[in-house]
């Protein structure tokens, strides 16, 4: 048996000493908060890593790369096709406007000639001095 077992007062003293209120060591709270933050961020990282982990496989990486490349190529081709169609449409429009302008000007020419004749028709035309003949 130990001395404490022999003397109940000694046991009591020992317990009192062991359970007495003691202040936390300096910087304890800071260390606890730092640890908690660290654990929180590592949990986030782990979550992110689990989502991105599918790209860790080479096949998936290649498939993703190929998909993005194909999408870019298709988009580029479609854009160029639209651009070409627009350019062709603008050229066709220019042709159409040119054709209408030419038709309009020639009709105007015919109209002006007819107007000339209409305005001059009341005047009697002597046969020997025909204005149609060049002299």
């Amino acid at each position: 048996m130990t001395e404490t077992n022999k003397d109940p007062n000694l046991i009591e003293d020992a317990l009192r000493n062991a359970l007495c209120r003691d202040d936390a060591p300096e910087g304890f709270a800071v260390r606890v908060l730092a640890r908690a933050e660290q654990e929180n961020s590592s949990a986030h990282k782990a979550q992110r890593a689990s989502w991105l982990s599918i790209f860790s496989q080479p096949l998936v990486r290649w498939v993703a790369f190929a998909t993005v490349s194909i999408c870019l190529v298709i988009g580029g081709v479609h854009y160029r096709k639209l651009q070409r169609q627009r350019a062709e449409g603008e050229a066709a429009k220019a042709q159409l406007m040119l054709a209408l302008r030419i038709a309009g000007s020639k009709l105007q020419l015919a109209k002006s000639k007819v107007n000339e004749i209409n305005q001059s028709s009341p005047e009697p035309q002597p046969q020997n001095k025909s204005p149609r003949s060049r002299s």
Binding site: N118, Q119, S133
Partner: protein
């Protein structure tokens, strides 16, 4: 029955041929196409119905000129233009033009304007194609000393649209000479040749 069909087929084709020919574009005389080599400037526009409709999609509704053009071409089936500008006079011959005019000496075509001007050498013919008393096409042949132009517009055209065609599109209206300037042109209205 098949024997009758075999006998009838050539006749049907023979009867249908002029109709098919009329439906096609009017052909320019072979000599006219060669004029492009002599011409200082050549304009060639061939636009059939689908092409016209496609081109009209690009016409702006905000531009008044293009808006009128869109309205004008809405029901057209084709526009064909050949225009040759020469640096010198006499680059084309009268038979070249006459060969083209000859195509319109048919009942379906009416020569509404025919101008022969010895004064300034401007000869203009305007032919209308009428179907059920409605205009189904117009052909303009303008033979000027240094310029030769063929215009063939296929499709229904309203008279007011035609008037618009004459005075719009940035072409200034030509001023008519005063009566004292002695007219030298002859106009045939409604003449059929």
């Amino acid at each position: 029955m098949s024997t009758i069909n075999r006998k009838l087929l050539p006749m049907v084709l023979l009867l249908a041929f002029p109709t098919i020919l009329c439906a096609q574009d009017l052909k320019l005389p072979p000599g006219v196409e060669k004029l492009a080599a002599k011409a200082k400037e050549t304009v060639e526009v061939n636009m059939d119905g689908p092409m016209l409709q496609w081109a009209s999609k690009f016409l702006s509704s905000e531009d008044p000129e293009e808006k009128k053009a869109a309205k004008l071409v809405a029901n057209l089936k084709g526009i064909y233009v050949r225009s040759f500008e020469f640096s010198e006079e006499g680059a084309y011959s009268a038979p070249d033009v006459e060969a083209f005019r000859a195509q319109f000496r048919s009942p379906e075509w009416s020569r509404v304007v025919g101008v022969r001007s010895e004064h300034d050498g401007d000869n203009v013919d305007v032919f209308f194609k009428l179907e059920n008393e409605k205009m189904a096409g117009i052909v303009i042949i303008a033979a000027e000393p240094k310029e030769l132009t063929f215009v063939n517009i296929v499709g229904p055209l309203e008279v007011d649209q035609l008037a618009d065609l004459g005075g719009e599109f940035g072409i200034p209206k030509l001023k008519t000479k005063p009566p004292s300037s002695k007219p030298v042109a002859k106009a045939d209205k409604g003449e059929q040749k």
